[in-house]
């Protein structure tokens, strides 16, 4: 503290501490936390069911391309052992019975668009080669070795080493996959921000309803009040996200393979999560500053709701803009989305999914932080100018609400 007052950040922390504890220990926050859990629980139950469905529906089979005797022996072994091994053994179909010395390209077969083809078995019974996506050939390596061992005419079962040949994805495929991650991350970011930033909207209305705003405004700068409130709500949001994340994690563990695994982002998962958290904070603070300004202008919750609708729609447009820009990396549109503060967190998170390089995120976070400071400054200035402009509300006798004020102005 300087000689006569709190520093800006001390003042902001006084507000943040009060708001954070007041919200966190209120009953309504518990309800707020539980709200989104209901759809998640329903989702988990549905996930459990769909997991079974998915297991049943996964009818991918192994295509066999071997010399005729080996191919027939494999199918015969499969027929003998299938009743005992059940679903652990994939179905097998003969793709081609090769003549001795004939070669076969399993990659071409896999890219032919045969929907049910999960992997291709080539080679011989003593040296089988399994070609396919990494997860499938990894899973089927054991059963194939077992079948080949049983199909072999050699005395007594022996289980040959299965050579695995993973299908490689192209750079275009990789880009398409990362786009999927970017899209999923953007959507999650948008949903979280919209869900949680709403709390900020009515925050200053509480102060005005409790008529405590003037005490705050007389003691500390309004910018510090705004910042304190924003960071308190951000803290509350992070608590909410942590709670939902824990439940979500449990659901992922329960649902297992029923939930699709997203392709790894360009910067890797740990950094991507860190950037996601930072961009959530920046997006939250940017929208929160806007909501706080709107909330400070309104005197009732109804007014807040009316005023917030256009902002929500604008935020939706910003999200669509960022989503559109994401698909065109390096274009002018994408750069605009990166520079425009409200869309910047969304655009940059998409970039993190698609491109390496951390320096751009450092610059973007700095820029977004500056925008937050400017938004808050402008909001606080507007508040001081517009809201603290008169004495107490007029006595009821002098006019009841908008209608009375209208009548008075006509008279």
């Amino acid at each position: 503290m300087s000689a006569g007052r709190l520093s800006f950040w001390q003042a902001a922390s006084v507000i943040a501490r009060r708001d954070f504890t007041a919200v966190l220990f209120s009953r309504s926050f518990l309800l707020f936390l539980l709200g989104p859990l209901f759809p998640l629980i329903v989702g988990a139950l549905a996930g459990g069911v769909s997991s079974r469905v998915a297991t049943t529906a996964d009818q991918a089979h192994i295509g066999v391309a071997m010399v005729a005797t080996d191919a027939d022996a494999m199918l015969a072994a499969h027929g003998r052992l299938a009743p005992q091994l059940g679903t652990g053994l994939p179905d097998m179909v003969i793709l081609r019975q090769l003549k001795p010395g004939e070669s076969y390209d399993p990659h071409a077969a896999l890219s032919d668009g045969n929907a049910g083809l999960g992997a291709v078995l080539t080679g011989t019974l003593d040296a089988p080669v399994l070609t396919g996506t990494a997860d499938r050939i990894g899973r089927w390596q054991g059963p194939v070795s077992f079948l080949a061992g049983n199909a072999s005419a050699a005395a007594g079962p022996h289980y040959p080493q299965v050579t695995l040949s993973g299908t490689k994805s192209s750079s275009a495929q990789r880009h398409a996959n990362r786009l999927l991650t970017a899209q999923a991350a953007q959507t999650l970011l948008f949903l979280l921000i919209m869900l949680l930033a709403g709390m900020v909207l009515s925050n200053l209305v509480e102060e005005k309803t409790n008529k405590i705003i003037e005490i705050l405004a007389s003691a500390i700068p309004m910018d510090a009040v705004f910042f304190g409130k924003l960071f308190a709500m951000l803290g509350v949001s992070l608590v909410g996200i942590a709670a939902w994340g824990a439940v979500g994690g449990a659901i992922v563990l329960l649902a297992g393979h029923a939930l699709p695994a997203l392709p790894e982002p360009a910067v890797g998962w740990p950094i991507f999560f860190a950037l996601g958290t930072i961009y959530f904070a920046m997006g939250y603070l940017l929208l929160g500053a806007l909501f706080l300004t709107i909330g400070s202008m309104a005197s009732t919750v109804r007014e807040v709701q009316t005023l917030s609708m256009p902002v929500t729609m604008m935020q939706l447009l910003v999200f669509f803009f960022a989503s559109y820009a994401m698909a065109q990396p390096g274009s002018t549109i994408e750069w605009l989305a990166v520079i425009f503060p409200p869309s910047s967190p969304f655009a940059m998170l998409a970039r993190a999914a698609q491109e390496n390089g951390l320096w751009q995120h450092v610059i973007a976070v700095g820029w977004q932080g500056l925008a937050v400071a400017l938004f808050v400054k402008a909001g606080a200035g507007l508040f001081r100018k517009r809201v603290m402009q008169s004495g107490p509300a007029p006595r009821k006798a002098a006019g009841r609400g908008l209608l009375a004020r209208l009548k008075q102005s006509r008279a």
Binding site: V14, A22, I213, G391
Partner: protein, 327 residues
């Protein structure tokens, strides 16, 4: 920045530094002039009243002094500082719109208000408990604000404005909404603060409060200061009133009475002549007026207010006071 003295409020006591100096404060809201050139000087340790009807510009003036809003024109200085929020630690403020967080305990509310002005929370709680005990509210310390009566909550808020031992206390309509007992308590509290050297400035539309308590007053009407100075000086703006009772209602002695003499009931009333009472008395005796009684009454602040701000403003002020009393 140096400001030349604008008013003789401190001329006699003086040499006391000024707690508040304001010069030419102007504030417009959407083009409407809310405050129009307010000048104030309040010496340290004084109890000072800002007197005026609702809408006169009292609250806006106080808000400008505190830095809650900035003046469009003019300058203000509190405790020697141009930026009031730089010395928030030394100022206590009770706004007209009373407000506290309903779910906060009384002692926490006091501590929170202290923390806004730099008092550590733990110390704020300790001092808050002390203040509550001293003011007979110890039993309410752990109750939430929503569990307190309006009067008690108002006292809690006042204690919150004082918990950090401010050097300057600004109270906007502090008596508003209090019953007679609590008004008396508040008066005592304000006097105790001033006795400790704290400067207290409060706005009010009740002339009696200002007259009883204030060393100086500023009379504001229509956004302008009509008068600023000592209460005595305001009262001296009107000549003392003479009340005369005679044996007979009429006679030659009547020619000795001043032109403004009026007869009400059994008395004659008129302003004390500039030449003093002695020549008049001599003339009345010489003309055989048969004087039964004669008294000289100094004008009250109310009369001074009427003379300074005008009859219409005074009536508006009286109407507000009556309305509040009725409520």
């Amino acid at each position: 920045m140096q400001m030349a003295p604008i008013h003789p409020l401190r001329a006699d006591k003086m040499l006391r530094p000024l707690a508040i100096e304001a010069r030419g404060l102007v504030k417009r809201f959407d083009g409407t002039l809310a405050v129009n050139g307010v000048d104030l000087e309040v010496p340290e340790g004084a109890i000072y009243g800002i007197l005026g009807p609702n809408g006169a510009g009292k609250t806006t003036t106080l808000r400008m002094l505190l830095g809650i809003i900035d003046p469009d024109e003019g300058v203000r200085r509190l405790l020697g500082h141009d930026h009031p929020q730089d010395i928030a630690r030394w100022i206590g403020y009770l706004p007209e719109e009373r407000g506290l967080y309903p779910s906060m305990k009384a002692v926490d509310a006091i501590a929170f208000m202290g923390s806004l002005r730099g008092l550590p929370l733990a110390e704020g709680r300790r001092k808050g408990l002390e203040l509550l005990e001293q003011n007979g509210l110890g039993h309410a310390a752990q109750r939430t604000i929503r569990q307190l009566s309006k009067g008690m909550a108002q006292q809690v808020q006042l204690l919150g404005a004082l918990v950090h031992d401010p050097r300057l206390v600004v109270l906007d309509e502090p008596f508003s909404g209090l019953d007679a007992i609590n008004q008396g308590k508040l008066e005592s509290m304000i006097r105790a603060l001033a006795a400790r050297g704290t400067t207290v400035i409060f706005s009010t539309h009740v002339i009696a409060h200002a007259e009883r308590m204030c060393e100086g007053v500023a009379i504001i009407a229509g956004g302008k200061v009509s008068f600023a100075g000592r209460v005595d000086e305001a009262r001296d703006r009107i000549r003392p009133q003479v009340r005369l009772e005679t044996r007979a209602d009429d006679g030659a002695w009547r020619t000795a009475l001043p032109d403004d003499a009026r007869h009400e009931g059994q008395f004659w009333y008129f302003s004390l002549p500039e030449s003093g009472i002695e020549p008049l008395l001599r003339a009345l005796i010489d003309l055989d007026a048969g004087i039964l009684s004669l008294s000289i009454e100094r004008a009250g602040l109310h009369d001074a207010f009427v003379a300074i701000a005008g009859e219409a403003v005074a009536r508006a002020l009286e109407a507000e006071t009556e309305l509040e009393n009725a409520a």
